[in-house]
């Protein structure tokens, strides 16, 4: 009969435990060595690239018609709801119209003294009082909304675009409080009944998420210029701020430009020629 001491039993048990623990590691190493090719996820070949996307708006080229065309092109193609319309009674029966004051906008016109409150001099040139100024998300280099977002639904892409992952947005609206430009709007209601014509090339949003301009990331990925640039008749230029040879940098070098609320240190990427 074999008599084992407790000591020798524990030794054997310990070695066995190590062996059992090692088996999965060995299996993993073995399986990885002859695995098939991994799937690849790449950018489209035709995509436009930049180190840091920026926008330049030449306010002297903005007329009321151009401003309307730009707003329309952006909002229609991104399925931005218009809460002033009556929802289709047949399709959305029982949907109440929205009370005054609710709106969602990605790009809109603003008076100079609202867009640039820190630049309102006592004897400001007359023309600034009625020039239409187009304002949108500034895609800041140092975006406060990104810092405020608790779920990383808002983030800065490596090419400088401040963009949202609507899947992750929990609707806390911290970003709206953080943004000094009012560039963000909240969907208090299901936006779908208030979209006159849904564009199939872009999703809508849902109730309970914040939304804003995405600098047409979906178009840049296809090698196309943003909608606002196309509709602007030359008033808006979008390009790479970090590339000294880009069109936008040449224009910036030639003209005096201003940015909104520069003193806050957010480093906006939208410049205005005045």
């Amino acid at each position: 009969m074999m008599i084992k001491s407790r000591r020798s039993f524990l030794k054997v048990a310990g070695i066995a435990a190590i062996g059992m623990g090692a088996a999965p590691v060995m299996n993993l190493a073995a399986s990885e060595s002859h695995g098939s090719a991994l799937p690849k996820m790449e950018k489209n070949e035709e995509a436009l690239h930049a180190k840091r996307w920026g926008m330049l708006i030449d306010t002297s080229k903005l007329t009321d018609e151009v401003v309307e065309a730009i707003k329309d092109a952006c909002h229609k193609s991104h399925n931005v709801p218009d809460f002033t319309i009556e929802p289709d009674a047949e399709k959305y029966s029982g949907v109440r119209p929205v009370r005054e004051g609710q709106e969602i906008k990605w790009i809109w016109d603003e008076h100079f003294h609202n867009a640039f409150p820190d630049k309102e001099d006592e004897f400001l040139a007359e023309k600034f009082h009625d020039l239409p100024f187009l304002v949108t998300c500034n895609h800041c280099k140092n975006p406060p909304c990104v810092q405020a977002c608790p779920t990383q639904a808002t983030f800065k892409r490596e090419d400088g675009i401040v963009i949202m992952d609507y899947h992750r947005c929990i609707g806390c609206r911290f970003c709206m409080a953080a943004c000094p430009y009012g560039s963000r709007n909240f969907n208090f209601r299901d936006p779908r009944p208030f979209i006159e014509e849904t564009d199939p090339d872009f999703p809508t949003r849902t109730k309970g998420v914040v939304e804003k301009c995405n600098l047409c990331a979906e178009r840049l990925a296809k090698g196309e210029q943003p909608h606002c640039v196309e509709a602007s008749e030359g008033a808006i230029v979008v390009g790479d701020l970090e590339d000294p040879e880009s069109e936008i940098r040449h224009l910036l070098a030639e003209h005096y430009t201003i940015r909104r609320k520069q003193s806050l240190g957010t480093e906006p990427s939208v410049y205005y020629i005045v």
């Binding site: 090719a37 799937p39 996820m41 489209n44 995509a47 963009i163 609507y166 199939p200 090339d201 849902t206």
Partner: protein
């Protein structure tokens, strides 16, 4: 006497415990619907992953796709089978719905049967429904 009682009790117990199976035998049950391949999907017959992986893993795949598109701007997916796809639910030729044309027969039939209600379509649009 007690033996008979025990046996009878056991029989009743077994019948009761297996009642779901009896119920299934006498009621007609619906077989799980097969997703229907229509149009382009029926012709091409080459999806992102193979059939069974796709059935089990499509939600994880979509999750990876979403992060890739939104965060890295990478929209082109080349699968292990060498085919290239446009990482999108419903936009463009080479997207999910671009190939599987009928959402009702492709997505909804299974989701309804399995009683899952993913919220994809609260934002994403089915191009067929718009027109």
């Amino acid at each position: 006497m007690s033996k008979n009682m025990i046996m009878a009790g056991l029989v009743v117990f077994v019948l009761a415990v297996l009642s779901p199976f009896w119920l299934n035998l006498i009621t007609s049950t619906q077989a799980a619907p097969e997703p229907e391949l229509l149009g382009k999907a029926a012709k091409v017959k080459k999806c992102v992953l193979d059939k069974y992986e796709m059935r089990a893993e499509h939600m994880y795949l979509l999750d990876v796709w979403r992060d890739s598109v939104v965060r890295d701007a990478a929209r082109k997916y080349t699968g292990t089978n060498g085919e290239t796809f446009n990482m999108s639910l419903s936009t463009g030729e080479n997207s999910c719905l671009g190939c599987h044309e009928d959402k009702a027969k492709f997505c909804d039939s299974c989701h309804d049967y399995a009683s899952v209600s993913p919220y994809c379509w609260e934002c994403h649009t089915n191009p067929k429904e718009i027109e």
